[in-house]
Amino acid sequence: MDFEHPGLSTKIIKLFRSNHIKDTIDTIENISKVNIDKTRGCLIEFHENFMSSENLFGGKTTSSHIIETAFTEKEKRTIFNIDTEEPFGFINHVSIPKIKEFLISENEIVAAFILNKCTEERMLEITKTLPSDKLRLIVQHLISIKNNPCETMDKYEEIIKEKLFIGETSDQSKNKIQIQKASSVFETLPKDVRMSIFSELENSDPETLAQIKSEMFMFEDILMLEDVDMQNLIFEIKDMEVLATALKNSNSDLVDRFKANFSERFEMQFNSAVESTAEVDDEAIDKAQYNIIRALRELEKNDRVTNLKQLKRSQQ
């Protein structure tokens, strides 16, 4: 290691605990002597192929990948002497809605255990959000929580960390994700097909219909865009005939928002395009609006406009 990066081994040794330093020195002492000519080629090849920072593997540099796969979280913390929180300390960093959802779905003893791992301040913050009947059941177990350090508890800490930071697995969350996906599909459907499905849903499941509508970003919702996003959209549309067709029959607020963000050139093109849209039918309007939403989604995909669903939720 010193041969490749002088001084690096000293830096690493400084991070080790005493038993690791002793083990490392013992291993170095006892390792069989191999001629440097033989090891040099291997080291250079290993460094070039795996350890140079440019190499990426599974979204990580290979050196990170090697450390990630070779050691468990606990080993990494112990071997590299990384200061760590108390067991389950990560719970203090989980969002309140997520922890609330988890505690409500858990049995009261487990919920008390999780709550017990929070700081006092955090515990008060969470308990305020819990339904009173659930809270009553949980609180009676707070004083009898067992600290049970063992391998199973370590494993539990790992999976719960993954669930609370990444996983959205409750039925409620799954339904929400399904509705979000469905709403994206509905945006792309021709208006008549969409309206026919909506009219059926209106009768059979009005609650789901309302949820879908609240997730969809429709042509009229363009009004919510910031000026800078409007200008990007106009530039992306380019063809003012498409815009003029899409805006035919739209309310004047939306037309004015577009006009307020036109450059001189686009304004001239738009005004002349409006004259040629006198004869367009509903189908053409629908198609033009659909093309504009597609263009907007493309901009969103490339991070050139605000996230549309977040924007819509913020306005609701």
């Binding site: 779905s105 003893i109 487990v110 177990h141 067992k146 199973t152 539990y156």
Partner: protein
Amino acid sequence: MSDIDEEKVRNWGLTFSDLISTKLKTNINFKNLAGEEVIYSEFITKNQQSKWISLYEETENQQSMIITIDYKAIIACTNHFFSTNSSGELDHAHLSFTEEFIAQEVCNEILQSFTDNNIAAKFIRNEPELNLVHPFHEDESITVYTYEWTIGSKNFGALNLCHSHVL
């Protein structure tokens, strides 16, 4: 003829309870082993309460085996793992995320217990309900070994080991 007899099940139960007691740091005991031959449809009728199911294949004869554990036992194990006062609610229709974790951890020791007692078996899958596994024909005669699942000295439901009557 069957490779699994009462003596083997008795030893398997002892190994299994020892492994999960260590794993969960909880005094889990299986008591009052009883064996009977029943038609599988009768077993289903008699076991309507919620159960965690672990499905195996006895490798020598390629016959199915199931281990069923009452939810009550899983929930009690969870409660004892996290608390010194485990007097929580035990009659849930579904297991929570943590209870499922404990169920999986418990089942991870079933195969080891078979191996330790020279019963050649292969793990197939775990399921949260009996009606999600179909190891036997409904008119098939099966042997059911039943243990009472106790923690400390308290009973928390049953553990069943079922296999075809003739292996």
